[in-house]
Amino acid sequence: MMPAPAGVLTFLHWAIIVTFVYSGALAAYALMMGVLAVIEAGFRRRQDHAEDYESVLESAHSIPVSIIAPSYNEELMAVPVLKSLLGQAYPTTEVIAVDDGSTDGTLAAMIKEFDLEARQVFYRNSLPTKPVRMVYRSRKDPRLTVVSKENGGKADALNCGINFARFRYLCCVDGDTMFTPDAVLKAMTMISRDPARIVGAASFFGISLTPETVGDSGYAGPTTNDHLLGDFQLLDMMRAFVDYRAAWSKLECMMCVSGGYGMWRRDIVIEVGGFSPNFTCEDIEMTFRVHEHMLRAKRPYRIISLPNLIAQTEGPQKIPQLVSQRARWQRVTMETIWEYRRMFLRPSYRTVGMLGVPYYTLFECFAPLFQVASVVTLVLAFVYGVLGWQSYLAFLGMMAFGTALPTTLAISLHDRGYRDFRVRDLIRMLLLGPLDLFLYRPILMWAGLVGVWEFMRGDKRWNKFERNVRPRAAAVEA
């Protein structure tokens, strides 16, 4: 043990106590969310089993949906994604694919696969966007419109798609996300129960290193990735959607309708001025803006999160790519919180102001800083002998298993609802839970710090990660 000055020791003592208090607060929050998630999941499960999806599927009164799929340099994924969208089991949909000025063969791949024909289409200019270069209609499937436009970012591409959309509900998706055939049906059935109030809806989507397998004829449900990083990301998403967002949904403060899959009511999106290109990502900011808009106007509304696993999106395969992606998420969270800081602890914004925004501020924005401070404190405490090694190990162990509990809860709730993962996948996921703290959290912590730094610098880049290596494609090439 190294001797330490008395001042340092006093500081370390207090720092350790602050660390324990912060961890305790986080645990209390997780416990509260867990209880709410159990209640919400049970309710949704029973609701799902009692639902008569067939009548919605066959009804002429089902609410039509415009699906908007922006893509930028998605040569590999654009066609499978559009096929999964055109294969939706739902009475009336249109698919608007927006090619945001790709520099690869994205547009050419779509033209070839869907037998696209160039057309002039005079559309509503409800939202300003970068100029449209050309519009294509599919000869194979009249429901498909492809818009080729100048590059302006995802928000701009979504706004462009909204200008072309004919229907009241918009399903905004990512160009690298593959959907199960019931993705729209599940969300719209829930929305059709209360279409006057539900203005936004999200649903759980998994992370896969090769999401296009969802479109395979032999697809038998989700599986783990047999790749540590991929599986940690899958568990991360499962925790976020099945535990936390379900609980937020119950508390009426669902703060993020993800860009991977989000249902929005068109009139509301137009009212708030469309997706903003001034932020790094568009999804969380839009959710905050809609909350603020509706609460200020004192209009009844709901934004819900559904537990159904309706899609698989591509997750980074390598650590630098993951750091880059998560740094972007951290950055946009901070940008959004800063922009909407006026809602912080304001009772007029109800649970959004009193719970949602404070949560994001304390446990998302400042999390990387707290985490780094905690790690440094504990290491120094150990080095200076303030904390005995037994206590140090006990704390680490408690944190490892404690942070694994929300993961176990999410796995349990998902499995009880859908029984879609194989038993061996369940066991793998459960065992990965306690390892999360040592193998995955440090990466996220580093990504968070990078994100904080990028936010301070005013960085707004998207940092799109390179597509993962496909075993099948590699085999074909060989």
Binding site: D52, A118, Q120, F122, R193, V386, S391, V423
Partner: protein
């Protein structure tokens, strides 16, 4: 300080570690065990399903069959029997057996009590299960119970009631659902979806509603009659609703008449092209398109196109879009009527007409004609030139791109000859 950490916190850490790790281990084990038990139950159920689906079983007498089913399902917990009673994947007679077994396990009085208005979430799901089981038992009180359930403020209960009523499928059930269109908290469209699936004709039940004082009732009556053939003067009864004071009713009447196509529908729809409500104008356009599409009379289609083309200049986007769609549906035979709008003082009308001519294939046809030396008429060339001008650079570019799909020689040169070189800027 040291005392605080050593005395208060450090012992707690050891205890905390043991407690949290044991909780994690127990919880994780339970997740796996629960899943294994579920899989075992599912295998058993699969076996039962396969046995029950054996066609030879249907040939047995009722008593023998019942005995066999009871033997198979005897060990099943009541809640599984409940679920099987509402499972569409197994034969109807098996569902009935399951319902009977659930009833004998629980008893009709208790089942009827379960199906009555509830308090609390647990009772709510029991109520829903009971309603499904009672569908097979059909006690005399079932309609009353379902009426109460449909009016329940809980949308899950109301939704289950609507499903069971649709499965009962008799006239009383239809009447309850129709009443529910007005009274239930469930969105009317969800109830209408169930009414659409009735196999019996609802004409007689819905017809009196056409004269109801409430606009909502008239709307749904007119809407739900859309899939009915025009029998017994049904269309004649709907026709007056085209002039209803309530705009949604006018729209519903137009759409239904457009589907039925009775005599005189074109006349009333044409009158509604100037309706103050944009969605009524759109419905009138759609009805006219349906009339024109099915009419073999070219002159009639042209007349219909002439009445629709002015709406290319409508102030509402939805009406303009409906007009464009309708004109394309009427086919290329009406191109002159569409082309006339290229001279409209309204910009929407001009570019809408250009878009319709493009989608009708008129532009490609003329280009192909010029390229092949077939000498299209001056009128056709003039329409091509004006349409491409109104359509803007993108339209000319699109025409050039299309010509590459189905090669038209020298299209770019042709467009330059027509002074449309802007397309290649």
């Amino acid at each position: 300080m040291r005392t605080l950490l050593e005395v208060q916190v450090e012992p707690l850490l050891a205890v905390g570690f043991v407690v949290v790790s044991v909780v994690w281990l127990a919880f994780s084990s339970w997740v796996v065990i629960d899943r294994l038990m579920y899989d075992r139950r599912r295998r058993q159920l699969g076996l039962i399903h396969r046995s029950l689906s054996d066609p030879r079983l249907a040939d047995l007498s009722h008593g023998e069959r019942s005995g066999f089913v009871k033997q198979l399902l005897g060990g099943m917990p009541t809640h599984v029997l409940y679920r099987l009673a509402g499972d569409d994947a197994i034969p109807a007679w098996v569902r009935e057996e399951c319902a009977r077994m659930s009833l004998s396990a629980i008893g009709l009085p208790q089942m009827l009590r379960d199906a009555t208005p509830h308090r609390g979430a647990r009772r709510k799901w029991r109520r829903i299960s009971a309603l499904h089981v009672l569908l097979h038992a059909r006690p005399t009180a079932i309609h009353a119970l379902l009426r109460a359930a449909l009016a329940d403020p809980d949308p899950d209960v109301a939704s289950a009631a609507a499903t069971v009523l649709q499965r009962i499928g008799d006239e009383r059930a239809a009447s309850i659902l129709i009443e529910g269109l007005r009274t239930s908290r469930l969105p009317a469209s969800r109830i209408a979806a169930r009414l659409e699936r009735f196999t019996i004709s609802l004409g007689d039940v819905l017809r009196p509603m056409l004269g109801d004082q409430r606009a909502e009732s008239r709307y749904w009556a007119a809407t739900l009659l859309r899939n009915h053939v025009d029998e017994g003067g049904l269309a004649a009864a709907i026709m007056p609703l085209v002039d209803d004071p309530d705009a949604p009713v006018r729209k519903a009447a137009l759409l239904t008449l457009g589907a039925m196509l009775p005599h005189g529908v074109a006349r009333v729809a044409t009158r509604r092209l100037s309706d103050p409500a944009p969605f009524v104008r759109s419905a009138a356009i759609l009805a006219l398109a349906q009339v024109g599409e099915r009419s073999p009379d070219r002159a009639r289609r042209k007349a219909i196109a002439s009445s629709i083309t002015p709406l290319l200049a409508d102030r509402e986007w939805g009406v303009r879009a409906a007009a464009k769609d309708a004109l394309v549906r009427l086919g290329p035979g009406t191109w002159r009527e569409v082309a006339a709008q290229l001279s409209s003082p309204d910009g929407f009308a001009r570019n809408g007409a250009a878009e319709v001519l493009q989608n009708l294939g008129v532009l490609d046809w003329t280009l192909r004609g010029i390229a092949s030396g077939a000498q299209p008429t001056d009128e056709a060339v003039d329409v091509l030139r004006r349409a491409l001008r109104e359509g803007g650079v993108v339209m000319s570019k699109a025409a050039a791109l299309r010509s590459k799909d189905e090669p038209i020689p020298g299209v770019e040169q042709l467009l330059r000859t027509l002074q449309l070189e802007g397309a290649f800027a």
